[in-house]
């Protein structure tokens, strides 16, 4: 019988996952994996938050719990707690009943549902902006959801290794009306570089002026600075100005629930009279994609967020994780400075969150991989979590040697 799918070509591997696999397969004893964004303890082990373990045990002992379907829009106690966590429980939008949450399949799922709602069924928006550089999956999520035109706004100044605010605002001023702008609420992935409060205000000004639509993505609330409110500042600023927006939230990092896929899509409206209609349309989108979200992770998060004592324990764990990463940043910077590695390395500590954009060139990255078995994305993005006290010496020495071997200015000649 003739075969039907002989024309299907082998798809390109997904970069992050492929590199990770390459590293896993590498037998070198000193290999360093800086590719995947998942927290590791100083022993390089995954960490299940103690409060998560405890909650899972409690859930197991609770005879009332079962495995019944959740509603299409998820567990109400989860989504409202998630929205309150994002906006602050006393936020006017919540009190006035014009903000609501939808439980989704983690952050990616939230973006897909939000984007599909904006593009396909109702509003027919076609253009979206992501930062340059961006989290690769953002573009794919929006394009698969039905958006047709992908544009980028300037974000990162490669030479100064900092935010290019002027370029940023300039690109937004040129954006056509109703374009959707994807914003990283905190701990920008991959650069780790966030706008300051004043810079956010200017960005909000232009978005409002040009009538663009803000689409936030927050994957690191609490994880970036250790403080839940600080990390939500940008979103709350937009909401307090009375702007409408959607925000995708992931609980992968801050709860360490990577594979349970707990996420939320918060939607803030100007007027609550549109709320039921918006909800009904999102229901249709979800029903045709996966019917209803997975229970286990959502229930863990809901249990913790709705119990003041557990919530305090959770905040403690977040601080532990954030501080661990902050200390890794400063010790990596110190080592490079002590070695006298050419170039400035202050950006390592001024950046925030799980990732750092080292500014290493493609050539340097390749050399690090081939010669030292240190794996990072070709863009020079490293996950801070891959570093620990037993490999930091090796890592800094390797970076030092590599930068000496392939000085940065060589790249400028090529350009």
């Amino acid at each position: 019988m003739s075969t039907r799918f002989s024309k299907v070509r082998l798809g390109p591997p997904i970069q992050t996952f492929a590199l990770n696999q390459e590293c896993v397969d590498d037998a070198h004893p000193q290999k360093v994996n800086l590719t995947i964004g998942a927290y590791r303890t100083d022993e390089g082990e995954p960490w299940v938050l103690p409060v998560v373990r405890k909650t899972e045990m409690q859930m197991a002992a609770d005879e009332k719990l079962n495995h019944e379907y959740l509603p299409v829009l998820g567990l109400e106690s989860f989504s409202s707690a998630a929205t309150s966590l994002l906006l602050g429980a006393d936020n006017a939008a919540i009190l006035e009943g014009r903000a609501f949450g939808v439980q989704t399949v983690s952050g990616s799922g939230a973006i897909r549902v939000g984007a599909e709602f904006l593009a396909r069924h109702v509003l027919h928006y076609g253009t979206f902006y992501t930062s340059s550089p961006t989290f690769i999956n953002h573009a794919l999520l929006f394009l698969s959801a039905g958006f047709v035109e992908h544009r980028e706004y300037k974000y990162w100044d490669d030479n100064r290794r900092t935010l290019d605010l002027e370029g940023y605002l300039e690109s937004l001023r040129e954006a056509p009306e109703n374009s959707v702008v994807v914003l990283h609420a905190c701990a920008h992935n991959p650069t780790g570089c966030d706008p300051t409060h004043e810079q956010w205000e200017k960005i909000a000004d232009v978005i409002e002026e040009r009538n663009l639509f803000p689409f936030f993505d927050t994957a690191y609330q609490g994880f970036a600075s250790g403080d839940l409110d600080d990390d939500a500042w940008a979103v709350r600023h937009f909401v307090n100005r009375g702007m409408e927006l959607v925000c995708a939230q992931s609980f992968s990092k801050n709860f360490g629930l990577y594979n349970e896929r707990a996420g939320n899509l918060t939607i803030v409206l100007k007027d609550k009279k549109h709320l039921e209609a918006v909800k009904s349309q999102i229901t249709l989108t979800v029903r045709g994609m996966y019917s209803n979200p997975p229970n286990h992770g959502g229930r863990i998060v809901a249990t913790i967020l709705n119990n003041p004592q557990l919530k305090e324990e959770w905040k403690e764990s977040i601080r532990t994780m954030a501080n661990h990463i902050l200390s890794l940043r400063s010790s990596l910077k110190e080592r490079l400075q002590r070695l006298g590695t050419p170039g400035t390395w202050d950006h390592i500590t001024s950046q925030i969150g799980m990732f750092s954009y080292t500014g290493l060139t493609r050539q340097q990255v390749d050399h690090l991989k081939e010669h030292y078995h240190i794996y990072m994305l070709p863009s020079g993005r490293i996950s801070m979590c891959g570093i620990n006290s037993s490999n930091i010496e090796y890592l800094s020495q390797s970076i030092h040697n590599t930068v000496l071997l392939y000085p940065n200015n060589e790249r400028k000649h090529k350009l």
Binding site: T3, R4, F5, S6, K7, V8, R9, L10, G11, P13, I14, F17, I36, A38, P46, V48, V52, E56, M57, A60, N66, E68, Y69, P71, V105, S106, G109, R112, R120, V122, L123, L140, L141, A145, N211, L257, Y258, N259, E260, R261, K270, D271, H274, E276, A277, S280, T283, L284, T285, R287, G288, M289, Y290, S291, N292, P293, P294, N295, H296, G297
Partner: protein
């Protein structure tokens, strides 16, 4: 009890414009309770009046007092209800008549009394003025806040606050991103559950939802699932990301469950299997893959009827959706001839969807000989089979028996796609465990397909939730626990036994109809053959909740409620009081003037009338 409805335009005249406050309200003096409603801006006062009456009746219906009197000040509304003016044609009036009929049929007394509006009894007028006051306050607030910016010019001209909004009848052009989002249609099954929750009848039965219940009507966590969860906890597993395609072990166990251990397909690596977000998520992945890569005619043919969500899933995936005949309403069974005729007409190289077992919603499956014949025609027409298997083991209690169709098609050499769900057979509904498989012509093709499937998943949700998959893996990889899949047999047996009990009890009630389809059908659902009118009646008068197509979930039937259910079904299918297809139809859309008139006369004969009964 005295209940009074009213329409509440806040200064007595109709208002246009989005923020005008055309409304309706009622008040119950016996418990000092009232409700207000806001209507669409283009509703007339008369509509508001009728709407108020209708809401009042619904309220009465929910309380079920022995005697109720409705006081009302709108003579025209009462006259049109009692038919003094003309035969009713307005949908609202017909709805009102239906509610009255339903109340009277249950033996409740109901009366209407017209009262001049200036003589409204005291608590009632208090209520009205409170509502009016609230409307005024709302308008004042709006005036104060908005006129500072948007209507400054108007503020300047008028100076003082107006009694009515200046924008009456003007389209609201204020910028909001969502103002043109329309209300999506409600999910029919969800609506049934909501209505069920509101019902206060102790005998109420919910037959809407497709989740298993034990004989006490309670959700059931399988003992094997509990054991698997205990074992998992003892292992102290982490919560790291799963691969995009999910757990490889889970995928492998799933395809082996479907095809049988030692299948040649799996041995030769011809399957591309990927963990999906239960059945729906797996269907969506399949739809998206076929929309992109299917080399033939990108149309999916569904059986009529099919699970309601199949159509949106495939449409959202980008495939066209068409139908082939499946269910025969005359026999409440499988329309074998019709199916074959329709399948023979499907254009070559199209996609055809089959429910692998326990067809949802009808519970009607082809027998093995019929499957063999279907396979033959499908091959002849070069169609591409898409199997949706949501009930393996749940239908007959035997996983191999329920997989007959899939395994037969594989044996016959079909390439195909297959979706599996563990929601029902392991009771893992909310954990979203399922799998998608494509059975390809070569190993190379299967690998390429796998790479493309990952590219579909990554920008949808990145990677699947693992908790449910771990439970499934624990059960299927442990010989002792797998043997305990007898849990699923227990569920299947209970369903099969209540089918028999329902049929027996209908016979005991003296029903002359042929109910053999109840036991011939299989799985969670039963297509009773009740028409929409009968379904509605059985809900209204017996608090038995089901979807309008007459589908009942057998899981909601227990040894305790089966007698009552049989009685209710017999009553609505037998008793003259209930309108059979030959009689006048009280549905809103299909009403002809004559039928309505007859129906309406009947209502009047039952004692409903204008001002007939009074409470002093």
């Amino acid at each position: 009890m005295v209940v009074g409805p009213d329409n509440v335009p806040y200064d007595g005249a109709r208002r246009g414009g989005e923020t005008a406050l055309e409304g309706a309200a009622f008040y119950d003096s016996s418990i000092n309770y009232g409700r207000t409603y806001r209507l669409q801006s283009d509703a007339s006062i008369f509509t508001a009046e009728l709407f108020a009456i209708l809401q009042t009746l619904k309220y009465i219906l929910s309380l079920r007092p022995q005697l109720s009197v409705i006081l009302y000040d709108s003579r025209s509304a009462l006259e049109s209800i009692s038919g003094l003016s003309s035969p009713p044609s307005r949908p609202l009036i017909i709805q009102i008549l239906e509610e009255c009929f339903s109340l009277r049929a249950r033996g409740y007394e109901l009366g209407y009394q017209w009262i001049p509006s200036h003589e409204i009894p005291l608590p009632y007028s208090d209520f009205i003025s409170r509502v009016k006051l609230r409307s005024q306050v709302k308008w004042s607030e709006w005036w104060e806040t908005t006129c500072q910016q948007k209507a400054k010019w108007y503020h300047g001209v008028c100076g003082t606050k107006l009694a009515t909004p200046w924008f009456s009848g003007v389209k609201d052009t204020r910028k909001s991103w969502w103002s043109h989002v329309e209300m999506g249609p409600p999910d029919a099954i969800l609506g049934v559950t909501e209505a069920y929750k509101r019902d206060t009848n102790p005998k109420k039965i919910n037959l809407g939802v497709g989740a298993y219940r034990d004989d006490n009507g309670k959700p059931f966590v399988l003992p094997s699932v509990k054991k698997a969860e205990d074992k998992l906890r003892a292992k102290g597993l982490d919560h790291e990301y799963a691969p995009i395609g999910g757990s490889a072990e889970f995928c492998n166990l799933s395809i082996n469950l479907a095809l049988g251990d030692g299948s040649e397909i799996v041995k030769n690596g011809l399957n591309a299997t990927l963990q999906g977000i239960s059945g729906t998520g797996s269907l969506r992945i399949g739809g998206a893959f076929l929309a992109q890569f299917f080399p033939g005619n990108k149309e999916v043919y569904l059986p009529t009827p099919s699970w309601g969500n199949h159509t949106p899933i495939f449409k959202h995936s980008g495939l066209a959706v068409k139908q082939y005949r499946y269910y025969d309403p005359k026999t409440c069974g499988f329309d074998f001839q019709g199916s074959l005729q329709d399948i023979a007409k499907i254009p070559e190289r199209s996609i055809i969807l089959f429910h692998a077992c326990a067809h949802n919603p009808t519970g009607v499956d082809p027998n093995p000989e019929q499957w063999a014949e279907i396979s033959h025609v499908v091959k002849q027409k070069n169609l591409f089979p898409f199997f949706d298997m949501a009930y393996q083991g749940f239908a007959s209690g035997d996983v191999a028996k329920d997989a007959f169709a899939v395994r037969h098609f594989v044996k016959e050499g079909h390439e195909m796609v297959l979706t599996q769900s563990y929601a029902k057979n392991m009771g893992l509904y909310g954990e979203r465990a399922g799998a998608f498989s494509l059975i390809a012509g070569s190993k190379d093709e299967a690998q390429k397909t796998m790479s493309q499937l990952k590219i579909i998943v990554r920008p949808m949700y990145s990677n699947p939730p693992i908790h449910g998959a771990r439970i499934v893996t624990e059960i299927l990889s442990d010989a002792a626990l797998k043997a305990e899949l007898t849990d699923v047999k227990g569920m299947a047996d209970r369903i099969i036994s209540v089918r028999a009990k329902l049929r027996d009890n209908l016979k005991k009630e003296g029903s002359q109809r042929d109910w053999s389809h109840i036991t011939n059908q299989i799985g969670m659902f039963c297509f009773t053959g009740l028409n929409p009118q009968q379904s509605e009646k059985v809900t209204k008068d017996f608090s038995v909740y089901l979807t309008k197509d007459g589908r009942i979930s057998m899981a909601g039937v227990t040894s305790k409620n089966v007698e009552y259910l049989a009685h209710a079904i017999h009553e609505v299918t037998n008793s003259f009081r209930y309108l059979t297809p030959e009689g006048p139809k009280p549905t809103l859309t299909r009403v002809g003037p004559d039928a309505t008139w007859k129906h309406h006369k009947q209502v009047n004969d039952l004692g409903f009338g204008h001002g007939r009964s009074l409470a002093k």
